[in-house]
């Protein structure tokens, strides 16, 4: 689907992306994680052809992306500013424009989504609230039906109900029309259930590319009476702790061997999957 080789982006003396080799097979949902300034937006911008790489190449189904309409017309990037048209345009104008410019744009689906997000065609883009603008941008992104659709913090300002609607619609449309999604987000726990594979960028470098399940196996959550849990995790790498009354949940990095798992069983401790966010924080250097 999309590959990069030695992809590099520099802004003057600053290197935003160090030489990056990436291979993202099609028809999957990828989660792109990284701290502020990690290079996520820059990476998505070059993948979409919004920016020319300083060095290296981006190929989409084997063809270059930058200034190649055969590629760019099949890629959609919705950015965090939510601007998909001129602020003076009403939503109907923007949707009409998208339908003229994008070969696969589904106007019927856009109209359906518009209703579900509670937006009307006569509203002016520039007059929408932050959350409404994000919702409208998501409508445009999903209805583009682009084989590679990327959302860069596209949910900014949206309330919890609309974010849930976004997730539900993305999954529903993904199953009905399989294609590749890349979701860049800081709402890791909220969006990680959507991910099939996780990419973590850190300081302009690809720190990790892993299936979600494999990532989760890199840690374990241990829940039980506080004192018992403390004794059990002694000597292990603790990523986070949460206490509720006498009960404590601790996330540890690394798998548990059979002996420890048996021990957990004897002490009636509950072992569970690790929170992706805890692993992410640990892998990217921990809490400052």
């Amino acid at each position: 689907m999309i590959t990069t080789s030695a992809l590099q982006v520099r802004f003057g003396d600053t290197t935003a992306l160090h030489p990056l080799d990436l291979d993202l097979p099609g028809e999957r949902i990828y989660g792109l994680l990284g701290r502020n300034g990690a290079g996520k937006t820059t990476l998505l911008s070059v993948l979409a052809g919004f920016r020319k790489p300083s060095a290296g190449a981006v190929l989409f189904d084997g063809a270059p992306v930058f200034e190649n309409v055969r590629s760019t017309s099949r890629i959609c990037l919705i950015r965090d500013d939510g601007m998909v048209g001129d602020g003076t345009d009403n939503l109907r104008d923007v949707l009409d424009m998208a339908a003229m410019l994008r070969p696969a744009f589904d106007s019927g689906y856009a109209a359906e989504l518009l209703d579900r997000f509670g937006l009307t065609r006569k509203q002016r883009l520039g007059a929408l609230s932050r959350g409404q603008r994000s919702a409208f941008a998501i409508v445009v992104g999903l209805a583009s039906r682009a084989p590679l659709t990327m959302f860069d913090e596209a949910h900014l300002g949206m309330d919890a109900a609309n974010r849930q609607l976004f997730h539900d619609e993305l999954l529903r449309d993904y199953l009905a029309h399989p294609r590749t999604f890349v979701l860049s987000t800081h709402l890791i726990e909220e969006q990680s259930p959507l991910f099939e594979q996780v990419l973590i960028l850190h300081e302009g470098r690809l720190l990790l590319q892993s299936d979600l399940d494999e990532l989760r196996e890199r840690g374990v959550s241990v829940t039980g009476p506080a004192q018992v849990v403390d004794d059990f995790v002694y000597g292990l790498k603790v990523l986070s702790e949460r206490t509720l009354g006498p009960t404590k949940q601790v996330t540890v990095f690394g798998g548990l061997d059979d002996e420890r798992r048996a021990l957990a069983g004897r002490y009636a401790l509950e072992l569970g999957p690790v929170a992706v966010q805890d692993l992410f924080i640990h892998l990217t250097g921990g809490v400052p």
């Binding site: 937006t41 911008s45 052809g49 919004f50 920016r51 020319k52 200034e67 190649n68 309409v69 760019t72 017309s73 099949r74 890629i75 959609c76 990037l77 950015r79 965090d80 500013d81 939510g82 601007m83 998909v84 048209g85 001129d86 104008d93 009409d96 424009m97 998208a98 003229m100 410019l101 994008r102 070969p103 932050r130 583009s144 682009a146 900014l156 300002g157």
Partner: protein, 226 residues
């Protein structure tokens, strides 16, 4: 895939809007003329010609909005190369259509003035006289096409947010003075030669080359979320 999607989009949406705005503006001019005649007596100069002095700057301002269009079409999967090829074509068509409308308004005003017994005098530096409709049309096509492409080039140059933005002001100013002179907005000798298209073609070509140079690799900026 449909051919020339950017030009088709602009011709089907922006051009009708511009025609409506221009027609509405001339209706306003007619109302102002009516009031002026009631207050001051018979008209002695062409109201359309006086009002037309702002067209040059309005066209520059509209062209200056090109970066927003460029960014929008790239967001919707098109390329800068397509934009640079199709946007100037739209501008030329728009210049012809708007110039035809302007010429028609001059003719309508001439008929009105003739019926009322007034004199339709033009501004002193205009390269056309009252009733010289071919030259009125050509001069306006010339002025509009130069102003639109120059505004676009300057807008995209500034959008780049690098040294090109400041440097672009020099050739942009030259092209605007050139275009203004052709239309008689400025008093320059070559504007009186009666060959507006002869100076238009190289000016538009220069504006297009400069637009291409600025736009061909321009990165899309990200607006700061509110």
């Amino acid at each position: 895939m449909r051919r020339f999607p950017i030009a088709r989009f602009l011709l089907s949406t922006h051009l009708p809007f511009l025609v409506m705005v221009l027609a509405g503006s001339y209706l306003l001019v007619a109302v102002i003329l009516g009031v002026a005649v009631l207050v001051s007596g018979p008209a002695s100069v062409s109201a359309v010609d006086v009002a037309g002095q702002v067209l040059h700057w309005l066209a520059v301002g509209y062209g200056y909005g090109a970066p927003a269009l460029l960014a929008t079409v790239v967001v919707h999967g098109r390329t800068r190369r397509e934009f640079v090829a199709q946007h100037p074509v739209y501008q030329l068509v728009a210049a012809v259509v708007l110039a035809a409308l302007i010429t028609g308004v001059y003719a309508a005003e001439a008929a009105l003035y003739s019926a009322a017994g007034w004199t339709q005098a033009m501004q002193p530096d205009r390269p056309f006289a009252a009733g010289d409709y071919p030259m009125i049309f050509l001069a306006n096509v010339s002025m509009l096409s130069i102003a639109l492409v120059t505004g676009s080039f300057a807008g995209v140059a500034v959008y780049r947010r690098d040294g090109a933005g400041a440097l672009a002001l020099v050739p942009a100013a030259g092209l605007l003075v050139y275009g203004g002179a052709v239309h008689g907005f400025f008093s320059l000798p070559f504007a009186q030669q009666g060959l507006p298209m002869a100076v238009t073609l190289p000016a538009v070509a220069a504006g297009w080359v400069l637009l291409w140079a600025c736009a061909r690799e321009v990165p899309l900026g990200n607006r700061v979320p509110a």
